[in-house]
């Protein structure tokens, strides 16, 4: 039997076997291996690869949840499993938390090949290892054919926020500098290029990656990081708008400073998309105190996921809640939030 059956989700023998034979070989956290109804964890137990952390003084937990429904399941540069782990880890990292534990719930469509599930789970293991987090809780449900599109993954993530860290989209201040960690638009275009009906040749890969170690390096370099955001759906343009609105400031960016890969730019031109609104899964935007810009940039560029980090603009007092772009030829325009789905244009 090489496919998921409804019986795999019914909680009986097949469910148990699925967990033991498919999931546990990859999700090896001791807390999970006990197979109790809930995982009991002690943050004091450090994973071998984790950095030193002052747990005794940290009173605050960071907690996040997310769901992953990406199509196709596998794409250039990643898959739904890697996306699920990295997306959750990154949400925690964006508030300055050290991510520790993840849960993963799987809603599986009857008939999904076991090999596919295995590959996804193996990918999650590799990503969790890279991010130095443990997957300590899980759930599986199987729905009838047609009840879900192959596989959905739902996660929650728990982390610890060190004392004194206040990173939030409402903390941007006039005079701050805006940095992006690398080229934008890679993930969205990579996924688009594999979807049925929009096939075109591109060497682009999704940039999906866990950013917590990068953030840790940045926090080492400076204690004046005001905002961190990972520009996923809605892209950089939407994230900057969220920051501008939450902080009630203006943000002024320069088009020529924003890194965009040639392939992404070309694909966007052909399809009528704006790279500013295309999803990223391995990038962050940081708003930091101007004084610390150099050392943060240096720390970022030393990290493999932020070699192309660049200052793209600054925070202004006015116009509050708006993002302005100075175009390549010296004009200005407003960058609004993405409205609805980006749809390809006619002519």
């Amino acid at each position: 039997m090489n496919r998921i059956l409804l019986a795999h989700g019914s909680g009986g023998r097949l469910s148990h076997d699925l967990i033991c034979d498919l999931f546990l070989p990859h999700f090896t956290a001791p807390a999970l291996a006990r197979l109790d109804d809930a995982a009991v964890v002690e943050p004091g137990e450090a994973l071998p690869t984790k950095r030193q952390l002052e747990f005794t003084d940290s009173r605050r937990l960071a907690f996040t949840t997310d769901s992953y429904v990406v199509k196709p399941l596998f794409f250039n540069g990643g898959d739904i499993g890697r996306l699920a782990v990295c997306g959750t880890v990154n949400d925690l990292a964006m508030v300055g938390a050290t991510p520790l534990y993840l849960s993963a719930g799987f809603i599986i469509e009857e008939g999904l090949e076991l090999d596919v599930l295995r590959e996804v789970v193996a990918s999650m293991r590799a990503s969790a290892q890279e991010a130095a987090v443990e997957i300590v809780a899980g759930d599986t449900k199987v729905v009838e054919k047609g009840g879900a599109d192959q596989l959905f993954i739902s996660t929650a993530g728990l982390g610890i926020v060190p004392d004194g860290i206040e990173i939030s989209a409402s903390n941007a201040r006039p005079g701050d500098v805006v940095i992006v960690s690398g080229a934008i638009g890679d993930h969205g275009i990579a996924v688009l290029s594999e979807r049925e009906g929009l096939a075109f040749k591109t060497e682009l890969e999704s940039d999906v990656a866990p950013l917590n170690h990068l953030v840790a390096d940045m926090m080492q370099a400076s204690s004046h990081i005001h905002v961190l955001r990972d520009p996923t759906r809605g892209g950089l343009g939407t994230s900057l708008n969220e920051i501008a609105q939450q902080s009630q400031v203006g943000i002024a960016i320069e088009e020529h400073r924003i890194p965009v890969r040639d392939g992404v730019r070309a694909a966007c031109e052909m399809l009528g998309y704006d790279p500013l609104y295309v999803a990223n899964e391995g990038k962050l935007v940081a708003v930091i105190d101007r004084e610390d810009a150099d050392q943060i940039l240096e720390a970022m560029r030393a990290h493999p996921y932020a070699e192309e980090a660049a200052i793209i603009g600054e925070v202004t007092a006015e116009p509050k809640g708006k993002v302005l772009l100075r175009t390549g030829i010296g004009g200005t325009r407003v960058v609004d939030m993405l409205a609805g789905e980006i749809l390809p244009r006619i002519c």
Binding site: E269, R326, G328, I329, G330, R333, D336, L343, R345, I346
Partner: protein, 364 residues
């Protein structure tokens, strides 16, 4: 590809062109950019701010989505809701509000509506679904009409019997005449549509200087193309010498694309058409010729879309004719936004209202 993007956006060259324009322009002029893609490009690159106050730019009716009459859209929505019909369309039409609904809403209610990038995709869907009638919503100008014609010729050659086209294409020179004949606002020059003219040829615009004393420049869509176009137009106006100038010579020839035109007129014939904002304009649309009538969705299907309702207070019609700018519409921004559009000009990626909303903010 990258060569075009980089070289035609060179900041130093742009600054030089802006300087030339500023020095040449002495009197107030109103220039209409016909094409919605020009409007968007002008906004996207912030060109308006760079122009001297003597130059006023107006958007024209060059947005095929915006000029599609509600009656046609209602018909398409009703057709999509017929059982078994697969309606294929360019993405832009999905969110446009008709009298009562939209293709997006119909899709959410179960209609099989699919977004395609080209008619070839639609034809493939027809091949893949031989038991379903597959209808392509033929909305666009002369840029896309030849490809629609080609799809019909291809379907004919292959004997694909379940492929249909709903012919709603429009022709741009007659619309330009209609706007000028209406005489509602003074225009001093026209920036002609670059892609349309690639098909129809720059000679197709000779009627502008000849019959109306107006200069027309055919420009491409990169910032340098547009600035070069504006400079050339201003230069002609200042010297009182109306002409058609082609500054998009890397794409446009005087006679246009003969192959494309041949395809287009083999399959289609010219007819009167209903334009939102312009009413019925003679000889401005395309209908399917007799030998290909079995591909005409209007011949094959009878649907009753119900009475046409125009959106209350919507100024799309006036905006299309260049008589009003979007901020002058009472609904603009307050009621009508890209998230909740009242009219097509706010939905279409080439619509003037959407361009103003997204890029102009509150300052324009």
């Amino acid at each position: 590809m990258m060569k075009y993007l980089d070289e035609f956006r060179d900041p130093a060259l742009a600054a030089a062109l802006v300087d030339k324009i500023r020095r040449r322009s002495t009197r107030p002029v109103r220039l209409m950019e016909f094409c919605g893609t020009h409007t968007v490009s002008i906004f996207k690159h912030g060109i308006r701010q760079l122009l001297p106050p003597t130059i006023e730019m107006l958007s024209g009716p060059g947005c095929p989505v915006c000029v599609t009459a509600n009656a046609d859209l209602d018909w398409a929505i009703a057709l999509a809701s017929e059982p078994d019909v697969i309606l294929t369309t360019f993405g832009d039409m999905l969110r446009v509000p008709g009298s009562r609904s939209s293709l997006e809403k119909a899709k959410a209610e179960g209609a099989d509506v699919r977004v395609v990038y080209s008619t070839l995709d639609a034809l493939q869907i027809a091949r893949d679904n031989p038991d379903h009638p597959v209808v392509f919503l033929g909305i666009g100008f002369e840029t896309t009409a030849p490809t629609i014609a080609a799809s019909i010729l291809q379907a004919d050659a292959e004997g694909v019997s379940n492929y249909y086209v709903f012919p709603a294409h429009k022709l741009t020179p007659p619309a330009t005449r209609a706007i000028l004949d209406a005489g509602e606002s003074r225009l001093d020059g026209i920036i002609g549509p670059g892609h349309v003219t690639t098909v129809i040829g720059s000679q197709a615009w000779e009627f502008l200087p000849r019959d109306y004393g107006l200069s027309c420049v055919i420009a491409g869509f990169e910032p340098l193309d547009i600035l070069q176009g504006i400079y050339t137009l201003v230069d002609r106006i200042e010297s009182g010498d109306p002409q058609v100038d082609n500054v998009y010579s890397r794409s446009v020839r005087p006679e246009g694309n003969q192959v494309a035109l041949e395809h287009m007129y083999r399959v289609f014939d010219v007819c009167a058409a209903d334009w939102r904002g312009l009413g019925t304009v003679p000889a401005s649309g395309l209908k399917v010729r007799a030998p290909f009538r079995h591909f005409d969705a209007r011949e094959r299907f009878q649907v009753d879309p119900g009475p046409v309702v125009e959106p209350q207070g919507c100024l799309c019609g006036e905006v299309i004719r260049g008589v009003r700018t979007p901020p002058e519409c009472k609904l603009y921004r307050k009621v009508c936004t890209p998230h909740r559009p009242v009219g097509p000009c706010m939905v279409s990626s080439e619509g003037a209202c959407a361009a103003y909303y997204l890029y102009a903010g509150e300052q324009d």
